[in-house]
């Protein structure tokens, strides 16, 4: 592959100047969706207006790393019993992982719910659960905050689920925790336990 060098001359089309000469320089370049900045990447800078007008492929690994770092915050304040159930499921899967496994486990369920219409509907039904969680939530006022940083891709998955179900992110999380409780906390022998133990192992290695 060609390695472009700082100071090397190039050509590009500039919005302002049309066909222009460029010089490769290291620049901080923002993402077009406002999600962050890739710092000190090599870019073709217009010799006339000084703007970044091209980017060579050797900057892609740095851009990819910066994109991964550009995480999105998801927060929810839930009746405490929901987080108790989530933590109990994490503990049952891997006592070593504990609360660090909250995010991977929740995202595993939310991602799974996005893969088919039937799975999305199951999640929506779980969010409307009228059993023990609803009763406990009504009778006890204690709440806990769940705060997670997720990748832009995962955030988009949650956004799509919210749109498809007309539910808030908090309700989606509640639904996922109800499913987690039913499938991992409740059963004597959870069907997915071995698979989830592997997930916990990789999530924490």
């Amino acid at each position: 592959m060609k390695l472009y060098m700082p100071g090397e001359k190039g050509r590009a089309l500039c919005e302002q100047g049309g066909r222009v000469s460029t010089t490769f320089r290291y620049r901080d370049v923002p993402f077009s969706d406002g999600s962050g900045v890739a710092r000190k990447i090599l870019a073709g800078v217009c010799d006339h207006c000084g703007k970044v007008v091209s980017i060579p492929p050797q900057s892609t690994p740095s851009i990819r790393a910066a994109r991964r770092g550009a995480q999105v915050s998801i927060e929810a304040i839930l009746p405490a019993v929901y987080l108790d159930a989530l933590d109990l499921a994490c503990w049952r899967i891997d006592p070593e992982a504990s609360q660090e496994f909250r995010k991977p486990l929740l995202m595993h369920y939310l991602h799974g719910s996005s893969l088919s219409r039937a799975a999305t509907q199951r999640l929506a039904r779980a969010s409307r659960e009228t059993g023990p969680f609803s009763r406990a939530a009504k009778s006890v006022t204690e709440k806990k905050r769940l705060s997670m940083k997720v990748s832009p891709a995962m955030s988009r998955t949650v956004e799509r689920l919210a749109e498809a179900t007309s539910l808030s992110k908090t309700d989606l999380i509640k639904g996922a925790i109800v499913q987690i409780s039913e499938e991992i906390v409740g059963p004597e022998r959870p069907a997915q336990l071995d698979k989830l133990k592997s997930l916990a192992l990789f999530a924490n290695c």
Binding site: G10, R11, A12, L13, V29, S32, P57
Partner: protein
Amino acid sequence: MPGTGFREAKRRVLKALVAGTYQHEARSAIDVKNGLLTGAVTAAEVIAVIGRSNGTHHTASPHHADPSVQVHVLRRDGWYMKFYFLDEDTVFISVHR
């Protein structure tokens, strides 16, 4: 611009992808829809899609910043690829699906 225009465009863009002699257009920002730029898509994947494209998947139109430059668009198997040639350089505007 199907026909010989496409065949020549295909040859040049594949050569640039293999050799790594290409760039991405930028307007003071990293276009997050350009998966080849962000690393969401590999050059090998793009090569495979272009390799199975023909003239029916191709259109071309002038670049708004320089009408003498033809912008090539390929739509194939749900993929959308937009690029142009500037003298000896190949410049991608967008690669996504």
